[in-house]
């Protein structure tokens, strides 16, 4: 019987085959990125809920119309001006930390009124916590403790926004989605920039990096810092209940 020597297969073209596969894969797949602007919608409003009265200065009104124009606090602004305007509103009468106190302008109707930031003082908080604990209101006491931790981390008392202060966004049905998202984006950028500024000054780290590190490590000390900054600059963007805006324009 003839014995044949097994010949080695030439693998030189293997690379070409693999390249073909690779290129085929690259061409056929579409990378679907899941990123965007995050928003929490408000829960549905029960029909019998009554409207709350808010002070005029406490709401930063942003409206968009069918021509993609912005009306901010009764003034026509362009989209690039929105962020600074929102920052100005959020700083309000001064945080007591980086931004010194500033007087509330109340001359005439044209001037923008800011919400009045209130001092959060350590001594008052401790007394308040005791009274809540005595009354058995554990949750309320917990909220006070968060403010106390914030004061400890900042190293000084701060001033907080009143609970009714918020940014209100009202969109016309004919506004383009692009403008809507840009407005949302600028408003969020305003909050984020202020948070970053405070965080860098107090903790030598940007707020974004605090959040990113917390999501990885779940460290308690990071969460305390995040909460402290959120107490000074809460993100309160409210979208008005939709209404047929065509009534309001003419």
């Amino acid at each position: 019987m003839a014995r044949r020597e097994l010949q080695e297969i030439n693998a030189g073209s293997m690379a070409d085959i693999a390249f073909l596969l690779l290129i085929f894969w690259l061409v056929t797949t579409t990378i679907d990125s899941d990123e965007g602007v995050k928003r929490q919608l408000p829960p549905p409003v029960p029909p019998d809920m009554e409207q709350q009265e808010v002070k005029d200065g406490d709401v930063y009104n942003v409206r968009t119309n069918f021509r993609d124009e912005l009306l901010v606090e009764k003034e026509v602004l362009s989209i690039d001006q929105l962020k600074d305007g929102a920052k100005d509103f959020l700083i309000a009468t001064g945080t007591g930390l980086l931004h010194p106190e500033r007087p509330n302008v109340t001359l005439g109707d044209d001037n923008m009124k800011y919400p009045e930031r209130q001092w959060v003082r350590k001594a008052e908080l401790i007394a308040l916590e005791q009274s809540y604990l005595a009354a058995g209101q554990e949750k309320a006491a917990e909220r006070i403790r968060e403010k106390l931790t914030a004061i400890e981390l900042f190293g000084s008392d701060y001033r907080e926004l009143p609970g009714s202060a918020l940014i209100s966004l009202q969109t016309d049905r004919s506004t383009s989605y692009d403008l809507y998202l840009q407005v949302q984006n600028e408003l969020e950028a305003a909050v984020n920039e202020l948070r970053d500024e405070l965080s860098l000054a107090k903790f030598n780290e940007s707020y974004a990096s605090l959040e990113e590190r917390y999501s990885r490590t779940k460290e308690e000390s990071l969460l305390d810092k995040i909460k402290a900054i959120r107490l000074v600059y809460p993100q309160r963007i409210s979208e008005a209940e939709p209404r047929d805006a065509s009534q309001g324009y003419y």
């Binding site: 030189g12 690379a15 899941d34 965007g36 049905r173 004919s174 692009d178």
Partner: protein, 153 residues
């Protein structure tokens, strides 16, 4: 002085035997790293750009709503809503949310994200309607899908 003769050395050909392995590694890397689009896009969506981008880590929690003009011109040019693989009406959204929620594990049902992929030229009317329906269905975590860009000053 011809003592030191230059030695002529033959350069051996570089072995290409490991080339296929390298390419295969590349291939596998791409296969693992890319996310396959699972559903067909029936509407044309040009995503707007935004700087405050959030990236969802747990992809299996995301459900998509696409809104935009249909790819197929026979269905007109007005923006339509696409749920899963078909066009849908605003009124169907609540049922859709309920069904999609059931596809998640019980512990994760409250963590569902709805990613809204909306064409940038769409008017807000239809988007607002969809949002109102999502609120009624208690699907409150929404992501407005966008491409990232730098913050403007």
């Amino acid at each position: 002085m011809g003592k030191f003769k230059k030695k002529k050395r033959e350069m051996g050909a570089i072995s290409t035997a490991s080339l296929p392995d390298i390419v295969f590694m590349l291939l596998f890397f791409f296969m693992v790293a890319t996310v396959l689009r699972t559903e067909e896009e029936m509407v044309r969506v040009i995503r707007p750009e935004a700087s405050e981008i959030y990236k969802i880590e747990k992809k299996h929690l995301i459900r998509y709503i696409n809104i935009g003009p249909p790819q197929d011109k026979r269905y007109g040019t007005e923006p339509v809503i696409q749920l899963n693989d078909q066009f849908a009406d605003v009124a169907q959204i609540r049922d859709w949310v309920e069904n999609e929620r059931l596809t998640l594990a019980e512990a994760e049902q409250t963590k569902m994200w709805v990613s809204m992929k909306v064409d940038q030229d769409t008017k807000m009317g239809v988007v607002t309607d969809v949002k109102q329906e999502l609120r009624k269905a208690s699907a409150l975590k929404v992501l407005y899908s966008a491409n990232s860009r730098e913050r403007t000053n």
